[in-house]
Symmetry: C2
């Protein structure tokens, strides 16, 4: 199953360079961060809690995982509070070999629980689509080598087709054991 | 043919925000630029000149076009010479509905003539792959709405799988007539 392979390749520590483009204001935001992706048990209380709220019948989670990030924004380089950190539980529920639902304890565009639809393109690009209260996010993740993956996002208003912002991250696997 | 539709949607003036990520040095480069994409005649001397050097038998160019850009880098904001401009002739030669060759008068990664292979994914993402003397570039272009397109690139060493840099551009169609 493509999902299993995708999660397996994603596990580990990553050094991320991420650029956000605010289209209306033509502003850039560049952020370096450290990302940790690790497997968690399907029986973990955090997973069971997410599933409890899920309305999908006979939901069969596969390879739940946890993401943790520590980011430093360039917007206020002298402000220690600009260092942001967070974590999130992600629970994939495949519906077939290429498609499924991804439950998240914290959304990407808005800080609420979210259920995304995912699909894999023929070249293994992973596409996630999430409807939030005020916006729709589309994320794409693709591996360009074993140790480098790219991630883009587009955030649009849920009312219309207005594009609010885009982002792109280059993620390099950290092979040192100290990070 | 997907290529014809892709070129037709790309014509016009675009305002581009582009972020380059240098992976080895963990450096960002943010550039705003103006991009003009316009059709040119298949009989244009610049097109015929590119075809002359092309080794493809019975090459049938479709929808040749010209790109022109004016970029301003953030690396040396006080240096007027950091404003870079250029133009390029592009000549698509489809081999079937989804694949083909794209000849370019100026390469993306290196300033030499180049022939790229292109393919369209099932969601219409346009993927270009170009072998240069010292590097291999993969570019992806996809429309997120009629007036916004995204463009990513990954540059790797031709010798191995080392990734040199990545980039991402958000391009918004300019609807004003003054630009």
């Amino acid at each position: 199953m493509q999902l299993e392979s995708f999660v397996a390749r994603s596990l580990g520590r990553w050094r991320s360079m991420r650029s956000g483009h605010s289209l209306a204001f033509q502003q850039f935001e560049d952020v370096r961060s450290s990302v940790l992706i690790e497997s968690i048990e399907p029986q973990d209380p955090l997973v069971l809690n997410l599933l409890k709220d899920c309305t999908i019948r006979d939901a069969k989670p596969v390879h739940p995982f946890r993401m943790e990030w520590n980011a430093e924004s360039d917007w206020e380089p002298d402000d220690p509070s600009a260092i942001t950190a967070g974590s999130c539980i992600l629970v994939p529920i495949p519906t077939d070999n290429r498609n499924g639902i991804l439950l998240r304890s914290v959304g990407y565009a808005e800080a609420e629980q979210a259920a995304s639809n995912y699909t894999f393109l023929e070249d293994d690009t992973f596409i996630l689509s999430t409807q939030y209260g005020q916006s729709i996010a589309e994320e794409r993740i693709w591996f360009v080598s074993e140790n480098v993956r790219c991630r883009s996002s587009v955030l649009r208003t849920s009312a219309g087709s207005g594009i609010l912002q885009t982002s792109f991250a280059s993620e390099i696997r950290r092979l040192d054991s100290f990070s």
